[in-house]
């Protein structure tokens, strides 16, 4: 009797979940599978006699090899190394830029965000005002942020005027990367701060009091209590931000046009979409796998750590 009830419940549960599952297959499953299917096909080729594009069918792994090995087809036939100016030659550069941006921005954002969260967590006059002020950058749409910083970083913009420099912030390799990082950190550090603030507020005050009674210094309280107890929130923040940073598009695309020095994988995908959608599908699949791998590594490494510290705490 009880078993049958459970089974019925379970069946009903499936029924309730079904609409969502169907919606997910339609909006996520179909595009993903379609993209996979496309990625294994050549883009339309030009028929020399009619001057029209024709479907050239199955391409097996050609699109993947094109990106990973930088191989290009020549119009006269044969395969060659992709030259500069062909997007196939940009892949590994874009991977490097994407990873570089992800590592640097996430590190800076967590450091600055943590500082902001610590300040926002204190009780003082004007705390509500500070919290609101800190959140404003996060509330501004990224495209608008990109425009604002682009204006500031122009040759005759405010940054060069204030510092009396003549740096080409939107064109030279390292200044341009710095500009994108600055804009991203400005925009997203508040988001990290908010996540960490939530983490901080669930640490009970009496733990700190007990430590203080035992004579722990402020630094010791930070490293021995705050950091371990904040770890779950920190993990979530790092995971969210890393996945976000790995698919960064709008800031480099708007602030620095098609500058190779700031070309991330997502920028490359969008450019390729205009040249050949099947090849772009292969590139987005590769990008997806890369982000997936990064998320997997983060969860494995940081997740294991988080569990161990909890066990250690329990033992202590």
């Amino acid at each position: 009797m009880k078993l049958r009830d459970e089974a019925r419940m379970s069946g009903r549960a499936w029924l309730f979940v079904a609409p969502v599952l169907i919606a997910l297959t339609v909006v996520i499953g179909y595009p993903v599978i379609r993209a996979l299917w496309m990625s294994f096909h050549f883009d339309d080729q030009l028929d020399e006699t009619t001057g029209r594009f024709v479907d050239s069918g199955q391409g097996t792994f050609y699109n993947y090899l094109h990106w990973l090995l930088g191989q290009c087809q020549v119009i006269t036939g044969g395969v060659t190394e992709c030259p500069t100016g062909n997007l196939g030659a940009e892949f590994w550069g874009a991977v490097g830029v994407t990873l570089f941006f992800a590592v640097v921005t996430v590190t800076l954002e967590v450091a600055i965000g943590l500082g902001m969260a610590m300040v926002m967590g204190k009780t003082f006059r004007g705390r509500a005002l500070l919290r609101a002020a800190v959140l404003i950058p996060w509330a501004i749409p990224t495209a608008v942020t990109a425009r604002l910083w682009e204006f500031m970083f122009q040759y005759d913009g405010i940054v060069n005027t204030v510092f009396g420099t003549e740096i080409l912030w939107t064109s030279d390799t390292w200044p341009a990367r710095f500009a994108v990082i600055a804009a991203d950190v400005w925009k997203t550090a508040p988001f990290v701060a908010l996540l960490l603030l939530a983490g901080l507020q669930i640490i009970p005050e009496d733990v700190y009091e007990a430590a203080r009674v035992d004579g722990a210094s402020a630094w010791q309280r930070f490293t021995q209590i705050t950091m371990p107890l904040l770890k779950p929130a920190l993990l979530v923040a790092v995971l969210f931000r890393s996945m976000d940073a790995l698919r960064m598009y709008d800031l480099p695309a708007i602030m620095t046009d098609n500058l190779p020095a700031t070309r991330t994988l997502s920028v490359l995908v969008v450019e390729q979409t205009r040249q050949g959608p099947n090849s772009a599908a292969a590139l987005s699949t590769i990008t997806f796998l890369l982000i997936f791998a990064a998320a997997f590594v983060l969860v494995k490494i940081l997740g294991a750590n988080a569990v161990r510290t909890q066990e250690e705490q329990r033992k202590a």
């Binding site: 049958r4 089974a7 019925r8 379970s10 069946g11 499936w14 079904a18 599952l21 297959t25 499953g29 179909y30 599978i33 379609r34 299917w37 883009d43 339309d44 080729q45 030009l46 020399e48 001057g51 029209r52 594009f53 024709v54 479907d55 094109h66 290009c72 087809q73 020549v74 119009i75 006269t76 060659t80 992709c82 030259p83 500069t84 100016g85 062909n86 997007l87 196939g88 122009q154 040759y155 005759d156 003549e166 080409l168 939107t170 064109s171 046009d257 098609n258 500058l259 190779p260 450019e271 205009r274 040249q275 050949g276």
Partner: protein, 427 residues
């Protein structure tokens, strides 16, 4: 019984993707029968939709043209579908509708370099046989920009050419060649302003500026088939060398590498440049009250190698969608767009006309004094490479030119890079 339900649902979940895959294969195997589609609805008449980017003319020229048409064609009304102001967004929107074989768009306005690709994809109606239009009163470079593989595919709606804006208070007679222009650069240095600038940021404007100087020195990019690369020539090297050398010695100020149209226009209007390559639309800003060079500047055709140079063509071509249901009406509307009446409205909105006669209209010249210079510029203009792989070709030009201008590649390597890039376009 209820027990069985659970696994079968799970099985269904596994089967879903497989079913989807089958559907995908089934739809994808339907290869497009382009010719059949082009043959459909050739005599269709009725209301149509005209699609173009945002009408930014002060006079609302596009709306005026459509209103005029609608006043005399009660049964064949034209609806204006206004797209975004951004060219890439317009392109993406058009491609989306064409891929979906949508009959919602009847006449589409194509930025000149897109025309060949749309033609090669079979998305637009070739203007031959019963669709032929009379192009004899039109300027020939815009007609060439709408021609792919020997066939006309669109009616040039308006054109555009680059102009040399110069400070007539410093240089009374505009230079006709690059050598003349560069020779006057010490004068700019004496006045502590930049000598020359165009648009050199890594975007489409860089392709335009590079193409102009390479064309001016006799270089080309692709053969008449739209595929064979022809850029590897001494002429192309000589052209690119002009830009690279001007950057190197400071005749082009170094910040110009960040310039798109707005930045370069602003620099000229603030009196920081002696020469500027720009589109006619800069004229309005430069002669406004806010401009520091108001009454101090003139316009001339672009400089070349031995005589005036070769501008790249801008502007829009109007084409009939292969999926339109009222192609006969669409054709009539195309003919109206290039008529004297419609072109006059377009020219009054400061969009350069495709009809030669418009440029000699004294009333228009009084309003837009740059028209004679523009006529010369357009008469000697060269369309951007007419190729179905335009995005890839443009990219190859852009990336290599940028590398040469910033000194990371030699002129020789950059030209060889362009050649190879065009060779591998479409892969």
């Amino acid at each position: 019984m209820a027990f069985k339900k659970v696994p079968s649902l799970r099985a269904a979940l596994v089967l879903w993707p497989i079913a989807l895959l089958t559907v995908t294969f089934a739809t994808a195997c339907n290869t497009s029968d382009t010719d059949e589609q082009l043959g459909r609805n050739q005599d269709g008449r009725g209301p149509i939709t005209y699609v173009e980017g945002k009408d930014t003319t002060e006079t609302g020229a596009v709306k005026q043209v459509i209103d005029n048409w609608n006043a005399t064609h009660p049964d064949e009304q034209v609806t204006y579908k206004e797209q975004s102001n951004d060219a890439s967004a317009q392109y993406d929107d058009l491609v989306e509708h064409m891929r979906a074989k949508s009959s919602d768009y009847d006449v589409v306005a194509l930025d000149v370099p897109w025309t060949a690709e749309f033609a090669a994809k079979g998305w637009i109606q070739p203007l031959e046989d019963q669709f032929a239009i009379d192009t004899s009163p039109l300027l020939s470079p815009p007609v060439a920009s709408a021609t792919y593989n020997g066939t006309l595919y669109a009616a040039p709606r308006n054109t555009n050419g680059g102009l040399l804006f110069y400070r007539k208070d410093l240089v009374p007679v505009p230079p006709r060649t690059w050598a003349e222009m560069r020779a006057s650069c010490p004068l700019a240095r004496d006045n502590q302003i930049g000598c020359y600038a165009g648009q050199f940021a890594p975007y489409e404007g860089l392709t335009v500026n590079t193409a102009e100087v390479i064309n001016a020195f006799g270089g080309t990019f692709v053969g008449t088939d739209g595929r064979t690369p022809t850029v590897n020539s001494p002429q192309s090297r000589a052209g690119l060398e002009q830009l690279v050398d001007a950057f190197r010695v400071g005749d082009i100020p170094r910040e110009a590498i960040t310039f798109q149209e707005p930045e370069s226009g602003a620099a000229f209007n603030q009196g920081k440049l002696m020469f500027l390559r720009s589109w006619p639309s800069t004229y309005g800003d430069a002669s406004s009250e806010a401009s520091a060079v108001k009454d101090k500047f003139g316009v001339a055709p672009l400089p070349g190698d031995t005589g005036i140079g070769a501008s790249t063509l801008g502007g829009y071509n109007a084409a009939i969608s292969a999926y339109s249901e009222n192609k006969a009406t669409a054709l009539d509307f195309l003919k109206y767009l290039i008529s004297e009446e419609a072109q006059h409205i377009i020219a009054s909105g400061a969009l350069p006309s495709v009809r030669a006669s418009i440029y000699d209209d004294p009333a228009l010249i009084a309003k837009m004094p740059y028209l004679p210079a523009l006529k010369d510029s357009i008469a000697s203009a060269v369309p951007r490479p007419v190729t179905p792989f335009y995005p890839a070709v443009s990219k190859a030009i852009q990336d290599n030119a940028y590398a040469a201008l910033t000194g990371t590649k030699s002129v020789n390597d950059a030209i060889i890079g362009m050649q190879k890039g065009i060779e591998t376009a479409g892969s």
